[in-house]
Amino acid sequence: MKYAYYPGCSLDSTGIEYQLSTKAVAGTLGVELWEIPEWNCCGASAAHNTDRLLSLALPARNLALAEKEGLDVAVPCAACYSRMKATEKAVRGSEDVREKISEIIEMEYGASNRTLALLDVFTNQAGLEQVASLATKPLQGLKTACYYGCLMVKPPRLAEFDDPEDPQTMDRLMDALGAEAVSWPYKTECCGAGFASSRTDIVLQMSYEVLRLAKTAGAEAVVTACPLCMLNLDMRQKEIEAKNGVAIDLPILYFTELMALAFGHKPAAIGFNKHFVDTTPVVRKVEQGRRAKEVQP
């Protein structure tokens, strides 16, 4: 399996552990990731608040480069995925848009290839049976709260691979890795996203709700597929704790990190040490569980 790979701006910086673990997982799964050469920013929230054509043209250039290679595009970041999916739909839906976009990017783009969320690629496309068979170091009942956030499965007309209200892809993945996905109500709620810089107070409140309900549901870690969710839940967790006068201590991990861990990759090599909230309890819990299992076969 070969995919065009669009890391987006986070995966080389704040989301480096997402990048490291993604590459590790791809290696184990035998998924070849061809990084789109000279890729540009997807436009994020800024572009589609500025100009519709701009917001379509920016992702279109990346998608056109992949289309030329005849490859579907795997996108790790939920926001990039949403913008690219919106572009794909707009171009497919209107000959007029297609022509305008192709003119702007000075390349033909017909949206003949698909934009896929990396989560979709590593689970549904790769096959969970294969994933389970490769999980040589299963996660032994680690209780995870699968957090899809606002853009991975919404809005339903863009993200089509899972239920927008009660998504299951990550939950089933956790099951395949030997972990447990707790039932909790905030799977698809917003963490506050980009308001982190302009209205930090709102983000602290919204992210606190996410963490609080994950904790209440008994989760030992929150699993995400979005670099911005990671930033708000992980980097700001100390601030949230201080503001609300509570201890949360909830490690936040990318789903790829847990996949790589179960596939036997070393935690340090896949970015476990790059988090603000200590992730060693997760590693310890998994190892303890495994040892306990070995003792009583």
Partner: protein, 660 residues
């Protein structure tokens, strides 16, 4: 020599303002065959009609053309005027110079020319008409009512009171439909069952009504006045002729945990059961899928305890055939399956998120909680109750685009009951709009608000369980603020949808449904009780969401329509129907599939050819079913079909008149 009279109507200024009617009449006088031509201010008025009569006498006319409004408006009037003047009413043609000319054009010169052309066409057409005679078909004086809810019962009782026998077919083991499930009715707060069960008893006891419960209509053949209906009486496994309805079997049946649909899943029943104590007929049936004797050949307790020996484990389905003259459809509604659509409300995984119908059972004295509002999860009395309206209604993304009409009122009633029954209760209703069109409805709603029910304008975006509370999050759009309620019970006002299987039965009876699956009325305003299939009428929520008063009214209306059909020994049929030229018909059968009214079948004829008698198949038109739409004529490849009154020859004459 044919002598045509042309009459051009001004329709006050409706036509004359744009069309020079006098000039049209003058031009028409020059057309071949026209012996007399005149314009008049109102042709449909008595003096206008007299004008036709006088002109026929004075000018010995034998054909009439009227240029006026649409034939849908006044064709019957002018046909009658033609007949009164002593001419066969089908030697008449009408052309529309109002809707087709004056109402849509402004240029007087061009409009007048168009009107002249239209009259020229009509004259050419009328020259080729032949006299047609109405025929008559006999009427079977019996009606079939499908569905035994309030609409069906009302229709059956009214038809029966008119002196005609009625067969009422109900799919469930009891008649009554949804109404006996309800607790109180708005706005009077009458006990629903108390006013419904006497109606059920009257229906049962009426000498003119025969009820088939636990039965379905399987086949309908024929046409208005002459339907042949096949009913499948499903096996009841209890001989109702012997059973006294003592109920001993129900108390002894060991399988007691079957969800009772009458309790909307809130209570259980046994495998041998009556849906509720006042069921009609008040005798049990065995639910074969859940009976241990019938599934595993074990148990047999009911047969052992039955004092009259009424249990018949070897009972079989039975097919009953009856002839009827008219059919009333009253198949009712079901609730929108919200659990499949609304993930934000939990897809049905929270036990304390219930539907309005379930709330009716909770608040009903004969329901599973004896009328105490207790929540399903832990049997505790809820203090904070949230009602959400428009769940599945007015939501074209997840549900239905239409308004279900009853929810505003029953939610107001529920909220009132909650406040009334629960001390220190806090009742919140989330709404989009409050629609209370109905006698006494707005007053009832205002009273509910005065009761202290808190109405919040906005949609609920999410419900989730936290501990023993349901967290309800929504928006108050009047304040522009997010709202969160920690509720004990949430009641959803789910949309009304056509009852399960209503599409299939529409297909069997032979009429159409609308985009939402409700039965299509013949005209949304002026023929709301009729279908496009003659002799088939509509009552109640099968036609669209309705409350009880509207349903009862429509039941009576459909009964009046059906009774009108049954009041005659025979009925006249319009002669403007298709005819087959047997000599030309190749028997290909294309028309059979095309006919929307199932009016064509192939019949075998014998003929002499080359000294031998040969048999072959040709199309045959059923004059009772044919509505004269002409679809078959257009489809016929050999030109064997023709539509009387609109023959190919007439149409070609019109085209020639316009183009040559």
């Amino acid at each position: 020599m044919k002598r045509v009279g042309v009459f051009v109507c001004h329709c006050g200024s409706n036509i004359a303002a744009v069309v020079d009617c006098e000039r049209v009449a003058k031009e028409a006088a020059k057309f071949p065959g026209v012996a007399f031509s005149i314009d008049n201010k109102y042709m449909c008025s008595d003096p206008g009609q007299d004008l036709i009569k006088k002109a026929v006498e004075e000018h010995h006319l034998d054909r009439i053309v009227v240029a006026s409004c649409t034939p849908r408006m006044h064709e019957p009037v002018f046909r009658r005027a033609t007949e009164n003047a002593g001419i066969n009413p089908y030697l008449f043609a009408m052309t529309n110079i109002r809707e087709h000319v004056s109402w849509i054009h402004t240029d007087r010169e061009k409009a007048t020319e168009k009107a002249i052309d239209l009259v020229r066409m009509a004259v050419a057409k009328v020259l080729h008409t032949v006299p047609l005679e109405k025929s008559s078909i006999p009427i079977t004086k019996r009606a079939l009512v499908i569905g035994g809810g309030i609409a069906g019962m009302q229709a059956a009782l009214d038809i029966a009171d008119n002196g005609n026998p009625v067969v009422l077919v109900e799919r469930e083991p009891t008649i009554g439909g949804k109404m006996p499930m309800l607790d109180k009715t708005f706005p009077s707060l009458d006990c629903s069952a108390c006013i419904c069960t006497p109606k059920m008893a009257s229906t049962d006891q009426h000498p003119n009504i025969t009820i088939y419960t636990h039965s379905e209509v399987e086949r309908v053949d024929g046409y208005i006045g002459n339907f042949q209906v096949t009913i499948r009486q499903k096996a009841k496994y209890v001989d109702h002729k012997i059973c006294t309805g003592c109920g001993l079997c129900e108390t002894k049946c060991p399988n007691k945990k079957i969800p009772n649909s009458f309790e909307a899943g809130m209570g259980n029943r046994t495998a041998i059961y009556k849906a509720f104590p006042q069921a009609v007929p008040n005798k049990p049936i065995i639910d074969a899928a859940n009976c241990r004797k019938l599934t595993k050949d074990k148990c047999g307790v009911c047969a052992k305890v039955c004092p009259t020996g009424a249990i018949k484990y070897d009972d079989q389905d039975e097919l009953i055939t009856i002839d009827v003259g008219a059919i009333v459809m009253a198949t009712g509604y079901d609730l929108f399956p919200w659990k499949e659509a609304y993930g934000e409300y939990g897809y049905g995984k929270y036990p304390d998120v219930i539907t309005g119908l379930q709330f009716e059972r909770l608040v009903n004295a004969s329901g599973p909680t004896s009328g105490h509002i207790l929540r399903p999860s832990d049997g505790k009395e809820p203090k904070t109750i949230v009602f959400i309206k428009c769940v599945g209604s007015r939501d074209d993304v997840k549900g239905k685009a239409y308004c279900s009409r009853t929810c505003c009122m029953y939610t107001a009633k529920h909220a009132h009951q909650a406040v009334d029954k629960i001390e220190d209760s806090h009742v919140i209703v989330f709404y989009m709009d409050v629609r209370t069109a109905g006698k006494g409805y707005e007053e009832f709603y205002q009273r509910t608000v005065e009761d202290g029910v808190h109405y919040v304008r906005g949609r609920v975006s999410k419900i989730y369980q936290l501990g023993d509370k349901l967290i309800v999050r929504g928006e108050d759009t009047l304040l522009g603020e997010a709202v969160q309620v920690n509720a004990d019970l949430v009641v959803l006002a789910t949309a009304m949808v056509p009852s399960a299987g209503s599409g299939e039965i529409a297909h069997i009876v032979g009429f159409s449904t609308d985009k939402d699956g409700f039965y299509q009325e013949a005209h949304p305003k002026l023929r709301p009780l009729e279908t496009f299939t003659a002799g088939v009428f509509l009552a109640g929520a099968c036609q669209g969401p309705k409350d009880i008063p509207d349903t009862a009214a429509q039941g009576s209306g459909a009964a009046a329509k059906a009774s009108a059909v049954l009041s005659n020994r025979s009925m006249e049929t319009d002669p403007l129907i298709s005819q087959v030229n047997d000599a030309v018909c190749a028997g290909c059968g294309v028309c059979v599939g095309i006919c929307p009214y199932r009016a064509i079948e192939l019949k075998e004829i014998t003929q002499r050819a080359g000294g031998k008698t040969i048999a072959r198949r040709v199309a045959s038109i059923n004059s009772g079913l044919c509505q004269g739409c002409g679809a078959c004529v257009a489809a016929c490849r050999s030109g064997a079909l023709d539509l009387k009154g609109f023959t190919n020859q007439q149409i070609m004459a019109e085209v020639d008149a316009l183009c040559l």
